[in-house]
Symmetry: C2
Subunit: 354 residues, 2 copies
């Protein structure tokens, strides 16, 4: 199967020439869109929405109908893998994801196994296939997974955490147990992403949302080492096309050189990093994705456009930049801000990118 | 007045020779100590504890009675200054600090004035005087304040925030209004810290707890520029002694060189930065304070000691290191971990520091 008609996103990731800077937004199919809320309501629950391929496909396409985005991203949850491992994912009202059976006992950790992605995670692969069919030849589809460490955070804490006390106690007291979890997670994530690639994902992104909570030394040992294992195990090509990979550690700006060295094609940046300096630091080794502050979208459209242009200029001339926010879009964002952003990036980067 | 008998902390900040690495902990007088909880209960409320010099003095001294710490820090709240500005600080049950009158209207921002620290903040100066008297000639007393930007976050948001939506909307939409607040805050913080120095504080620390939530560009314009104004306005000497200043932007590891250049004597680091690399980056320009992960204190005492020794070694030989956590100590920390930490730092650094 050939590259999609608009393959700007894939070319920027592979640092091939582009006519303008491609743009997509983390969590672009989300609650800031009324049509998403409508579909979610119809689904009955967030998990039902994730687990019903036709509905996941519907919401994946919604932002593309509104905005001139250069990529679609699979609609799914970051915790599908531990759910498939049997931890019992559920969503408490207004509390975010939780697990019925957090992973804390030594026997449970010894018993942990990587799930077969084509069995318990079949619904994700079906969604990928259905979205690819619906997208036709328009824009590429991004598959994704949580990182081994980020999944472990949720698995051990049993949900979100503000201080990661439980997993960090394990990290400092019983590093052997945490390494065991991370090793299973790395195998599970690799198989999961490869199954998505086989089902039709044209690029993959690994979200290391909580790696940034680790100390400099612990990040290398407990997050980056396993990200490297995953990247090394990814299918590099499918159907004759290169499948680029993006690694994003939120809060990982200080560790950029180390992340850029693990073999991925692109590194995601949050808004605390200067993208121009980041480009000099990685020295053409990887493409960069980011990095506008999601909160800047609450300003007036002209201010949104100005901030987007500032970031495009800070990156500077040439390919290798995929425009994005530095984190998922906030649920209260006015959709008009997204139009202003996308148009500003496309307009301002023509002549600069290339 | 001469330097205290144990002036290791002051010497390390000024990069003068020391026999060992001095240590104190952010929030060392806090809820992890049963005696603190007892005094707080007796005070009736947290604000009453802050505003009663005898009680503030009592809790300031508590950790020094238990542990071999090299400095005391004034017990107070970060939000005393906006409270003195008339915003009405209160503590909702289990919700952290809030303001009755958040600062959002243009007229209120135009009317904002820096308070006279010797009037509405007299209770803080009285506490400083009383603590100095109680400390005698033992260890130095640190005074502190929130940074202009961190205070503005609380003032505009009306309390803590997970996304800083209100202040960031102001930042991107009406930067003129935010600059007006920050300019008043910078004058207020300078006067407040100078009053603490005159009352007896022997070093001062500025906590920029929320500067790390800003983009690279916004940090320079809205936080660092005002930190620089404050540092430039601080009394450098009092009673014939140098008064060192410490600036700590949590999450500011990427901006270390810029922070080290504003004229402060020391820079605080959170645990995401490698303190050895940080030392090379600042090239002897400033001392460094930090940077152990507070969550590592939940491990067994031997693991706590090992992690502390690792950080002492990562900093390496010579003076210029004040050992601390990378953030305030958690309220559930076992006090035995603090003993293990302090002893490990003192023991392991003899021979390395100097």
């Amino acid at each position: 199967m050939a590259r999609p008609k608009n393959d700007t996103f894939l070319r920027a990731l592979l640092r091939e020439p582009v006519e303008y800077t491609p743009v997509w937004l983390m969590r672009q199919a989300g609650r800031y869109l009324p049509e998403y809320c409508e579909t979610r309501k119809r689904a009955g629950s967030f998990l039902k929405l994730c687990k019903t391929p036709a509905l996941a496909c519907e919401v994946t396409l919604q932002p593309l109908a509104r905005f001139d985005l250069d990529a679609a991203i699979l609609f799914s949850d970051i915790l599908t893998v531990p759910d498939a491992m049997g931890l019992g994912l559920y969503f408490a009202d207004g509390e975010g994801p939780r697990f019925e059976r957090p992973l804390r006992e030594e026997w449970a950790i010894r018993d942990l196994e990587a799930p077969d992605p084509n069995d318990h995670l079949r619904y994700v692969m079906d969604a990928v296939t259905e979205i690819r069919r619906a997208l036709g030849n328009s824009v590429p589809l991004i598959g994704f997974s949580g990182s081994p460490y980020t999944l472990a955070c949720y698995m051990v804490e049993g949900g979100g955490s503000s201080d990661y006390r439980t997993i960090k106690t394990m990290l400092y007291d019983r590093p052997d147990l945490l390494h065991r979890i991370l090793s299973v997670n790395a195998r599970a994530v690799t198989a999961y992403l490869n199954a998505q690639i086989e089902a039709g994902a044209q690029a993959v992104m690994i979200f290391d949302s909580w790696g940034g909570s680790l100390s400099h030394a612990a990040y290398r040992e407990f997050s980056l080492a396993y990200l490297e294992q995953v990247v090394a195990g990814l299918k590099r090509n499918h159907d004759g096309e290169r499948i680029p990979s993006i690694v994003f550690t939120k809060g990982g700006g200080q560790w950029l050189e180390a992340i850029a060295a693990i073999g991925c094609d692109a590194v995601g940046l949050d808004w605390t990093t200067d993208i121009g300096e980041a480009r000099r630091r990685v020295g053409g080794k990887v493409a960069l994705q980011g990095n506008m502050d999601p909160m800047s979208l609450f300003a007036a459209p002209e201010a949104v456009a100005a901030e987007a242009c500032r970031i495009v200029e800070t990156y500077g001339r040439g390919t290798g930049h995929v425009f994005n926010l530095g984190h998922g879009i906030n649920q209260f964002t006015p959709p008009a801000s997204v139009s202003a952003l996308v148009d500003a990036v496309h307009r301002h980067s023509r002549g600069l990118a290339g």
